[in-house]
Every structure is written in C-alpha cells, then in structure tokens.
Symmetry: C2
Subunit: 349 residues, 2 copies
C-alpha cells in the first residue's frame, strides 16, 4: 500500500528487467537507434514486442529534462479560457499572442485549458510552478474570482478583462464603457431605451450594466424594468425572445443596448417583426464585435474590447512578471473601441 510508484505506467527499467537487458539497450531500441548501435535483431524484436505489450509510454518530462542542457527550455504558459468564449474572441486573442511570439522570436509553449464558467477551481492543483511558469486567465465569474482571491499561487497570473485588486490584469474601464454607451444614447436624444443583458455574467459585464443604468438615470433616460430583459443563452433565439419582451411595451424604446454580440441577430429580427426600422425607428448598439457586423444589413454599431491588444499586453505582462517578481499587481487599462456603423450613429445627433 505504501507503494509510491505510479504503477499505472510502465518504465524502461521494467521492460529491461523483464527481458534481462539493460535499460540503456531498451532506450536505444525504442528510439530507433537499434541498427545503428548494432543491437541484435532478436533483442530488438523482443524489446519492441514487450514495449507494445505493456503499452509503454515514454515520460515526456524525463526526456525534456534530459535534453534541457541542449535545448532552451521554453516558458510554459497556461491559457485558461472560459468554454463559452471558445469562438472568434479566442481566435483574435490567439492571433495577437501568436504574432507577438513570432515578432519577438519568443520561446513559449502555450497550454490551452478551457474551463466552465464558475469552475476554474477544478484546476486548482495545476495552477502552480510545478506545471507552468505563468497563467493567463480569461472570462472568470465572480465565483472564480473568489476562488483566486482566497488562494495563493506561486506563479504570476494575469487576468483578462477583469477588474481586480489582488491580481495583475489587462482590461478596460468597464464602468466607463457602460457610461459612454448611455452617453451616446443621451447625445443622440433618446428618452426611452432598452437594455438586453445577460443572466450569467461576471463582474465586468455587471459593471457595464450598472454604469449604463446609472448613467441613463442621471441623464433622465427612461429605462424601467420593463425595458430590461436578460438572455439566458448567448444566441439568436434568446436575443430574439428577450428583445420581443422589451418591444412588447406600449411605448417602444428608441434604442436598445445589447450586451452580447451573439444576441444581436435575434434583436434585429425582433425589430423587423415589430415593424421597426433600424436605425430610423430604433437604434441598436452592441457590446462585442464580429466581422459580420460590418456588412450585415444594416451594419451594426458596436463597442468592443481590444482583444489583440489584450493579448499583446498580457503576454508582455506575464513575461515581465515571470522574470521579475513584482509585489504590487500590475493593471493595464486599455480603451474600448467604438465601431460606428449604420445601426447607431455617433456622438453627433
């Protein structure tokens, strides 16, 4: 019972013992250097067969360690990414990382670990210096943040798109982003607007929402509860249904702020159903961009997080942190990007 060995896996040594040869010989044969080292064909055959039978798997770590005097050891960086955002958003982020790695000829091994919203904790045992040199984490929930804050990690961690005290992060000012959306509606003279939110959301989205609502209040823009609807799913259907609720009010809003791009299609459909022309009767502003928004009909005005910049900055940051332990968290705040298109005009009414 006190067996420390992981008996599930087979090692070269065991094959060697079973066959009565040395482990060096086994290693040579399994690496295909048997002929070169003039190991007898029969010995080679016996070794190959035994390895196959025992389903021998080389231990990559041992091999890499063996080589580490010859090969430069890469930085191993984990990218924890929320499952729901395994889409174009990740694509943009990865492009940013990749181009930066290329340009600066960095030696980085990127380990991608998706996780379910709120379940980051599951990977607790792997977020440490036995596994990675650093971790970039995107899309955490409040629970995930709590988990991070209640634990200590011995590697630098950079959070993407998250406002936090304890950790390094790259983000935008989410409150300000929400404010500027409300202000845009104000400048454009809207008196009654709708908000299409999300029922599952992290702190960043909450901040945008809060700021949007508060600023609407301040600006005397009507946004009663009737005009707020939350999507359970980030998809067309959910966007459609939620928008329909908002549009069922006697007095229609003249603008809607849609908090997730994936709901936008449904909102447009709902407007069409309600016989409202976008943007004449109703303006649509969306948080989160997508290439299709630039040529849909109408094209969609969006505000977006600068994913490529997020990637560049976070990679830079994590490398700095890996090389120099820094005590106070680094926080970089970037500027969100407005893409003014047909569905909602700019800051001139």
């Amino acid at each position: 019972m006190e067996n420390k060995k992981n008996t599930a896996t087979v090692q070269i040594k065991q094959i060697a013992e079973l066959l009565g040869v040395s482990s060096g010989t086994v290693s040579i044969v399994l690496n295909g250097r048997g002929d070169q080292m003039r190991i007898s064909k029969t010995t080679q055959k016996r070794i190959q067969d035994m390895a196959k039978e025992l389903k021998y798997q080389p231990n990559i770590y041992a091999r890499r360690l063996r080589k580490s005097a010859e090969e430069e050891v890469p930085y191993i960086i984990a990218l924890f990414w929320r499952e729901e955002y395994l889409d174009d958003l990740l694509g943009q982020f990865l492009k940013g990382l990749y181009h930066m790695i290329q340009q600066n000829d960095l030696n980085i091994e990127l380990v991608l670990q998706p996780y379910d919203f709120g379940n980051l904790e599951k990977y607790k045992s792997s977020i440490n210096s036995n596994h990675f040199n650093g971790a970039i984490i995107g899309g955490i929930s409040n629970d995930d943040q709590l988990f991070l804050e209640q634990n200590e990690f011995d590697i630098p961690i950079v959070l993407i798109g998250r406002d936090t005290k304890k950790y390094n992060s790259v983000n935008i000012d989410y409150y300000e982003a929400g404010e500027s959306c409300a202000n845009l509606f104000f400048v454009r003279n809207h008196k009654t607007v709708g908000l299409l939110g999300l029922s599952t959301k992290g702190k960043s989205v909450q901040l945008v929402e809060l700021a949007f609502k508060e600023t609407c209040m301040e600006r005397n823009i009507h946004i009663d509860t009737n005009y707020i609807s939350y999507c359970a799913q980030r998809d067309f259907i959910s966007g459609y249904e939620s928008a329909m609720k908002i549009l069922s009010n006697e007095i229609k809003p003249t603008a809607i702020f849609v908090m997730d791009g994936r709901n936008a299609g449904g909102v447009l459909k709902a407007c069409k159903m309600a016989d409202l022309n976008v943007p004449k009767d109703i303006e649509i502003l969306v948080f989160g961009d997508n290439e299709y928004f630039s040529y849909s009909d109408p094209t969609i005005t969006t505000i977006q997080q600068p994913m490529v910049q997020f990637a560049e900055r976070s990679l830079n940051m994590i490398l700095v942190l890996i090389k120099n332990k820094v005590d106070i968290p680094m926080i970089q705040e970037l500027t969100p990007i407005f893409n003014f298109r047909e569905s909602c005009g700019g800051y001139t009414a």
Copy 2:
C-alpha cells in the same frame, strides 16, 4: 566552447554554490517552506535575493519529473493549427475536444501551436517524442504535406481535413462534396453558374473545386473562366471584388458557389449592387458555416465540415494510436453537413 550546459539559465545548484549553502536549502526556501523547515531568516533572505538577482527560473520539466511518481502524467498533445483559421472554426474544434475530455475524464495537456500556411516545417524539431505524445495538425498546405511526407516522425500524427495516404486523418470526401454542390445546382436547373474560389488553398479545397468544375461540365452547366474568380483574401472586400468580376459578364450566372464563408458577405453585397435578388435572380451556396448565416437576410445555405465530430474523432484516433502502434494509417471519412436556408434551396427544384 565545449560547454554543454545551457548557461543562459540559472539552476538551484548555482545559487547554492554562490551562497555556500546546500541546494536542498535553496529549494526549500524558494518553495516557501523556509519557515516551516526553520531555515534562518537571514539565509532565506540571501537566497531570495540571489534568486531574484539571477532571475532564477525553475525547470518545469525537472519538477514534473520529480512529481511523476505521485501525479499521473498527462498525455501531451500538440495541436498545430493554421494561423488563418484561428477563428470560430478553431473554437468549434476546441469545444469538441474539451467536451470529449470532460466526458471521458481524460488527462490531457493540450499545447496549441499556430503556424503560417506552408511553414509547418518550422516546427520540425518539436514534432517528436521528446516533446509530445502525439500531434493533431489542421489546415496544412501542399508544401506542408510534402514536408510531412518527406520526413519520419516518431509520434502519431492525425491530420484534420486532409486526404492523404501516409498519415492518419479525419476528413470528408472532398471530391464528393464538390460534386454534390454541382449536383445541387444541376437539380435546381442552373445552366450558368459562377465559382468564387481561393488563390491560396490546400489540396482539400482544390479537390472540392476540381470536383465542382468537372461535375458542372458533365452536367452541361456553363462555367467558363469568366465565371471563375479567385479571392486573394478571405474577407468581405475580396469576396466583393471577385463577385463583381463574375457579375460583370453580359449573361449573369444564376448561381454562385462560394468556397470560403468569409467571402460570402462581399458576394451578397455584390449581388445587391448588381441589382440581383438572392435567391430569386441568383442562388448562393457557401462552403463553410457561421452562426450569422442562419439569420442574415437572406439566410445563407452552406455546406460545412463537421468540426465537432472532427475533434471527437481525431482525439479518439490519436489516443488509440498513442496506446497501440498501428502500422497502416487510419482514415476516417465523415459526411459534410448541408444547411439549407434561403440563399439556395434544396435538392428539389
């Protein structure tokens, strides 16, 4: 000059020697167990300072090896993915992988390595059993395939979306896919059709194109060179310009086969410009799906590769191959998915 040591990195041993303590002590302190092991504060401080000064980086491989008797060693699988496809396509694939890993509780470490089309060769030295247990490779060019075929690799490799003799692969029958697109146009009574291709393309896309053209010929569907245009970029603009060329013919085609979804938006725009109604005047069929196609106006009919299935099958395949060396390449051919929507009707005219 004969120095085998990688002098670029610092080891615990060097810190220990410099400070005149043992490496065990250094290890303990750097792992934060100094107090627990009652190492004097001064020693701790000296060690911390020195480590910081020398920018000590622990060797992850050594650490993991040390732990490998306690922790199960994961399969390390590399995912080589073409830079151009770092988008929703990758997202779908990753979702497939992730769900499969979750469901079967697999212990897999996924290393993501983007590469530029035609430059897979750059990673030659890392595609081996010193680095990974297996590799999944998506989106290769003909040059990349040549590179793979002209070299031997000691780990199993599974190609995604590629028809090849030497390697394991998960794909669809690309020729048949192209055929069925042409047949769809035939059934729908089109006599003159356009083809919007790609100027950079791998063998799979070439096969689709070839099959489409050949089948059109057989079916007596006009598709002269005037009606074929290649996009240099996979984007809106390039799609628009190429479509405009096709539509500049005196006799307009009554259908266009668009070989990359990212060009589709431009094609729709071009049709609008040419005052052609989709689908009344001209039908559009697109290779490659996107969620927006299901609610654009008109919604877009597509044929797509089953990415989620690709992921599941390729992961399964690579695990089988890692565990049991198989001599003949495994090839799984899946069925492409047709999504019939407004822009082009189904097999009934």
